[in-house]
């Protein structure tokens, strides 16, 4: 995967966030402060503009720019969290011009570690970690099993979606929803839902780039 695939990934995320903005906001209205959709839309729109102004020439530099822009522009808690995830993933990729699925799996592991460090959430706390951790695990397993890139990214996207849905019966242990105690049960976590969009977008970007190359 080259820088163009990563740029396409970000474009796909921005489009998915725009399309699902109302759903994310509805989820956040149930157990949060009803701004997750709007915050992420503002953040990723800013990212798309930043990438248009300054096109980085490596995947690592691109993810770094994405992370810094999200931290500056999102405003809510998801800004530092997603920003750190992209920044750490970018750092892990270094200045390589192309990235293998194994490189990407390691970079996303670094991103997840950054999110965990910053927010202190573990799996089961009903946060974005509940979608990201299983996705990163599925990607690493697929790499280990020798799966193709498409298959590996598909497994990660499915695991993220399943992880997000699995937050519905959870009781929140972190974030604003944790003040609700047992009343947080029965709602999907908005951060996990948006993380599932991020992994679905990665899968879509890889497929689209492959097709545009005629592969």
């Amino acid at each position: 995967m080259d820088t163009a695939v990563f740029a396409r990934w970000i474009g796909e995320i921005a489009a998915a966030v725009r399309a699902d903005k109302d759903r994310l906001t509805r989820l956040d209205a149930a157990i949060g402060d009803a701004d997750h959709g709007a915050n992420l839309e503002r953040g990723f729109d800013a990212v798309v503009r930043a990438l248009a102004d300054d096109s980085p020439d490596t995947p690592g530099a691109l993810l770094g720019l994405v992370g810094n822009t999200l931290i500056r522009r999102v405003g809510g808690a998801s800004g530092p969290l997603y920003g750190t995830a992209f920044r750490e993933a970018g750092k892990a990729l270094g200045d390589a011009r192309t990235v293998s699925t194994a490189d990407l799996a390691r970079a996303l592991e670094a991103g997840l570690a950054g999110v965990r460090r910053l927010g202190g959430a573990a799996e089961g706390d009903k946060t974005m970690v509940d979608a990201i951790a299983p996705a990163v695990r599925a990607l690493a397993e697929a790499v280990r099993d020798g799966s193709g890139q498409r298959e590996a990214l598909g497994a990660a996207a499915s695991a993220a979606l399943a992880g997000a849905e699995a937050t519905i019966p959870m009781r929140a242990g972190k974030g604003r929803a944790s003040y609700l105690g047992p009343r947080s049960v029965g709602h999907e976590d908005p951060g996990a839902a948006s993380a599932a969009l991020v992994f679905a977008a990665l899968c879509a970007a890889e497929a689209a780039s492959d097709e545009s190359r005629g592969g």
Binding site: R72, G75, S78, P80, L81, G83
Partner: protein, 123 residues
């Protein structure tokens, strides 16, 4: 003197707690409020926080005191040698930190004073 930066989703909240702490304390402590977004909305702005850290930094270290939620995460992005985040009650921790800093205490002692505020019973 140790510098102190208050971080809140609300600009007025950070500004008022800073004003209260400054009034309670006779000595001018380098104290900054970084609340809200740059356009005055609710949220936290890393750019405001960065500017405030620079303004209050006299070379003796800086303590960041966030209120809750995203402010804590934003504060933690700035952890560095000489810049620490205090996990303390916003008002009480700020007052304790400002009074301690005004007495010329070093960074570690100011942080400890702020953390002590967690245990103070009101009655």
């Amino acid at each position: 003197m140790v510098g102190i930066v208050l971080i809140s989703h609300s600009g007025p909240l950070a500004a008022e707690v800073a004003a209260l702490a400054a009034r309670i304390c006779a000595v001018d402590v380098p104290l900054g409020a970084a609340g809200g977004t740059e356009d005055g909305g609710l949220g936290s702005s890393p750019e405001l926080v960065a500017a405030m850290i620079e303004r209050v930094d006299q070379g003796d270290g800086v303590i960041l005191i966030p209120d809750l939620g995203g402010s804590v995460l934003t504060a933690r992005l700035f952890e560095a040698p000489g810049v620490v985040v205090a996990d303390v009650p916003f008002v009480e921790g700020t007052i304790a930190a400002v009074i301690s800093a005004s007495a010329g205490a070093p960074l570690r002692a100011v942080l400890a004073a702020a953390e002590d505020a967690r245990r103070f019973r009101k009655f």
